[in-house]
Amino acid sequence: MSPELRRRETVAGYLFLLPSLIFFVGFVVIPMVMCVVTSFFDATMDLNTPDKFIWFDNYIELWQDPVFLKGLTNTLIIVLVSVPFTCIFSLWVASAIYKMREGLLSFFRIVFYLPVVTGSVAVTVVWKWMYNNYYGIFNYVLKNTGIISKNINWLGNPQYALWCIILILLTTSVGQPIVLYVSALSNVDNSLVEAAEVDGATNTQVFWRIKWPQIMPTTLYILIITTINSFQCFALIQLLTSGGPNYATETVMYYIYYTAFKLYRFGYGNAMGVILAIFIGILSAVQFRLAREK
């Protein structure tokens, strides 16, 4: 490349990037940096009072804050239950539907994606009604089938509340993984599958030996996006239980919101944000490693 052309390419490249970079730097990079910086300050909503630099005090306080620790535990439970379940469930659905006729395949794909499109607020309010102690359909069905003998206040009971939330989360998480798995499975190299079938391989062998390694990158991507999504579970908690009863459904994300926008402790909230980002970063890195080794 001639120097003239190279110069032209560089200028053009940056001009094309400029509009996007303004938004990216302004509304992603700057807040990200501010998140880390503010976490070392005693910062409030008030822009007129100067923030006080307090070193690691926010981080030290975090590990002595029982609500944060409870929130962290609940978040980890949500992640540990919903991530494997979402992956297995969506892989099963995808392998059951990917060979179907186009119309039928679209139908199932749409149906499982429906809770995502419906939007978290609409989904949450209808589930709130279904879980309701007096008018909810859950108590009606379970009582009439003899599974329970008296009404259960699902969301008001610390024993069940978190599981009720996980159930809704699952229905809103499988849509995207199913779409991804369907596309990955239909892209599996068919000549290998046919060769193996000629050699008398069983369906199970074909799946684990041939298809599974080929859909591994998709699995990895799904693991990562599902982990990030489960960590960020928020609307469900805010609209259904506000973290209650007795912190049974407190999550890190909800506590960040509560600290920052109800208690106006920005610095403390941001310290939690940093910890959350680190957790997600570590988990993604571990998943990436594991997938690479296999």
């Binding site: 970079l21 302004g26 199932f108």
Partner: protein, 291 residues
Amino acid sequence: MSKDNGSSVAYKIFSFVVLIILAFLFIFPLYWILTGMFKPPAVINSPTPQWWPHEWTMRNITELFSRRTAPLFGEIALRVPGALRWLINTVFMAIMAMILTCITAAMAGYALAKKRFIGRAFLFSLIVAAMALPKQVILVPLVREISALGLYDNIWAVILPTVGWPFGVFLMKQFSEGIPGEMIEAARIDGASEFRTFTSVVVPMIKPGIGALAIFTFINSWNDYFLQLIMLTSNSNLTISLGIATMQAENSTDFGLIMAGAALAAVPIIIVFLLFQKYFTKGITMGAVKG
């Protein structure tokens, strides 16, 4: 398939039955919203549910549209029901976010895929790294930034951050990789300017990608409840999701009214999704192909 024996046929029937049951369960909440909005309060607040409304009422819908009014747009004098204003706000937000994202991302994606310049590799890794971070974590500092810009409680406060999110750039880079270099070269030799090459050669080739990104951004922006919650406060600035959430906090047991609101939030976006779902599916899968 010649290898099909009895057990695999049985498995196929079994899995089909399970799928049908699951499909039913996944549709049910939506069904419950759409029928619930037409049920009278006595039926809604009864321990015995009606699977299909015996008596249809418009009460919930009338109630939804008779609540607090707001100006139709901006601060003009014509006042409309709050719920209608929320819907207008939401449509405006989603369309603006969509247009801005598509323009900026298409340009940036093309530059990252086809231009050779210093800092390109660094910028791209920064974008990928940002995508792996939890989006909601940056929203707390974002509120302070938006307040400092004087945009707090303004519909642009929920549009601008959506445009900044780098997924679109990533997606458009994937699509732009597929443009043959010779076509760009040919345009250059013909003396077309860089910008003209972009609009007349590149854009037509990445149209399906832009379609995918458009629908993806529209739906995500419509449903981004957390961002809306922390940025918007006054009644006439709310989005439909936020309006419904506020309404359910105020009348937590009037499920009929709340279902009418939920339907107003969900039905338009579901229609958009159904109309464009082919593009949407493409967007999801292209975004996953690692670059």
